[in-house]
Amino acid sequence: MTSMTPGSTVASATAPTRPRSSYWSHLKYVMSENPVTGLAFGLFALIILAALFGPYLVPHDPLATGVGAALQPPSLAHWFGTDHLGRDVFSRVVVATRLDLLISVSAVAISFVVGSVIGSLAGYFGGWTDRITGRLVDTIMAFPLFVLAMGIVAAAGNTVENIVYATAIINLPFYARMARAEVSIRRNVGYVQAARLSGNSELRVLFGHIFPNIMPPMMVQISLNMGWAILNAAGLSFIGLGVQPPSPEWGIMVAEGANFIISGEWWLVIFPGLALMLAVFTFNLIGDGLRDLVDPQRRT
């Protein structure tokens, strides 16, 4: 670089070379350094596969009662046993992936979009925008979040959509706060000033220049929240405000199965519980992994 002549178009670049695939190599590096993250991405792929193809792969109709005798322990015919209506637990666990993923993905997507837009505006413009949204977010946060979700579902009726909305609302403050913080520290950095000089309108500066830069930390939050959204739906099911029967859903299966622990029908709770835990676990680990991936401190 020091050999370049000002104004000359020819350049013999001894420039630092970062191949375009650096992101992938970085990913590989993070994975190799942190086997747990590698594992998490593997599990994630598995969950996605189950959600996409699960219903076509399972041995039994997850809704069909009496495909086996009721309350049979795991066997070759029914890998995860059968429940009190003689339904195949394995089929139900696998098929449930789709609904659970649907709930958490859509809930998180809504809260991300709404929350980050609100938060970004508050962080960027400050003043009254900030104060009003701040109060709004504080108000939501002042409720114990799970109780708020309960209230919303109880008031609006327990449909899948309402569970999604309730979960979205209680997750909203996290995105709003994070977006606000991340935007406000970038509000006057060099490239933002430069963007203003380039004739960008304020909104374009915010959503064209700043927003893409706050995505990495938001991604981490998204991943952590996915797991939490699933748990939240499960908790709602436990108190009877969850998904309607007979839809297979992990939370409701665990909630129903929980009552069978004492009577010894452990397979009713263990398998959906494991699936639930695995999914939440995966999302949490991915969150950590993404943090490593996007944390500039860890990028050499």
């Binding site: 350094e33 942190n34 086997p35 747990v36 109060r135 709004l136 504080d138 108000t139 946060m141 002042a142 409720f143 114990p144 979040l145 799970f146 109780v147 309960m150 209230g151 919303i152 109880a154 008031a155 609006a156 009726g157 797991g227 748990l231 499960a234 908790g235 436990f238 108190i239 009877g240 939370g251 665990v254 909630a255 929980a258 622990i261 004492i262 709770v269 519980g273 639930l276 835990m277 695995l278 939440v280 676990f281 949490n284 680990l285 950590d288 943090r291 401190q297």
Partner: protein
């Protein structure tokens, strides 16, 4: 230094909470009114006819228009009257007075336990990043947060009460052979100590153990994660390098220089963790028959018990304001910079 400045900041902080509390009142009032079902019909009893339902409705003040109901509610609030919880037949204030300490004892206990376990775990992980210790810590705390609390609670109960018989029967705050201690703080553990009654203290602790562990397991992750991240940051900071270059010994660098600074972000996350805990409480209280405010709220919600739900939420809101204030005070104590920025 600038005590006055800090006091002013605290005062401002209190003022800031007022609109939030008002917002909560409104949201909560509307939410409870949106609850489906007719509480009047529900409480009139299984054989009631239309007339008796109407009578119950009048008794409950539910025949008034919404704004009137709201004004009545707020007026009652200002006079310290939170109404009657229909589902338990007690004044909401009395319910809160007995149940809040039960929940708080559990929640704060769990927070403390979680803090005591998670912080060392986080520090341990941060001092050995990307070693097996780090991975193990991460794995353990993540596993903890990945389980629904009602599942963990039941599983623990199954193992430690049903199978092993180590834990006492999960029937509330204290074993039936003991009388609750004289109420001073409402926390059985503290009240028994004040009374000097060690056996009852032990009984209360034994009763609390399983729900505490259940809740703590759930909240290890956020605290441990934050501790690890904050410690990594302070350990990599320039002032820690300076301290090391000045030859300070390892403990002093770790504790006085790195840890105390790392504690700041950890303290700020406690508020959020507390919120999580209260939510988890709802489920755990149900499993362990814990007479707390969470189970009260669930029951009240299910039967559309307006007064109880509102009282519950209001107390929660105040609790949060107080808690956040407390966190701010703690923050002020450990961070001299607070209140100084222009």
């Amino acid at each position: 230094m600038s005590l006055a400045l800090k006091a002013r900041k605290v005062g401002l902080r209190l003022l800031e909470a007022i609109p939030t509390v008002i917002g909560i009142l409104v949201v909560c009032f509307l939410l409870t009114r949106a609850l489906p079902g007719d509480p009047a019909a529900y409480f009139a009893g299984p054989m009631a006819d239309a007339e008796s339902i109407e009578q119950v409705r009048r008794n409950l003040g539910l025949d008034q228009p919404l704004p009137v109901q709201f004004v009545n509610y707020v007026t009652d609030l200002l006079t310290g009257n939170l109404g009657m919880a229909i589902s338990t037949g007690q004044p909401v204030v009395a319910e809160l007075a007995t149940r809040l300490p039960a929940s708080l004892e559990l929640t704060l206990g769990a927070l403390l336990l979680s803090f005591l376990i998670a912080v060392p775990l986080g520090v341990m992980a941060a001092t050995r990043p990307n070693t097996w210790v780090d991975h193990l810590c991460r794995f353990l705390v993540t596993a903890g947060v990945s389980l629904p609390t009602f599942f963990t609670g039941l599983a623990l109960m199954y193992i430690f009460y049903y199978l092993l018989g180590w834990a006492p029967a999960p029937m509330g705050r204290i074993d039936m052979m003991y009388l609750p201690p004289e109420t001073v703080t409402g926390f059985y553990t503290i009240d028994t100590l004040i009374a000097g009654d060690w056996e009852t203290f032990r009984a209360a602790i034994a009763q609390m153990a399983l729900p505490l562990i259940t809740l703590a397991l759930f909240t290890l992750a956020p605290i441990a994660r934050m501790t690890r991240a904050a410690m990594l940051q302070t350990l990599g900071s320039e002032f820690v390098r300076t301290a090391r270059a000045a030859g300070l010994n390892g403990r002093r660098v770790l504790v006085t220089y790195a840890f105390r600074n790392a504690l700041l972000p950890v303290v700020t996350t406690l508020g959020m963790v507390f919120s999580f805990l209260l939510g988890a409480n709802v489920l755990v209280e149900k499993v362990f028959a814990w007479p707390g405010i969470g189970s009260f709220a669930v029951e009240a919600l299910v039967v559309s018990d307006y007064a109880a739900v509102q009282g519950f939420v209001l107390s929660m809101a105040l609790l949060f304001v107080l808690l956040n204030l407390l966190i701010d005070v703690i923050y002020t104590l450990i961070d001299p910079r607070v209140g100084e920025e222009s």
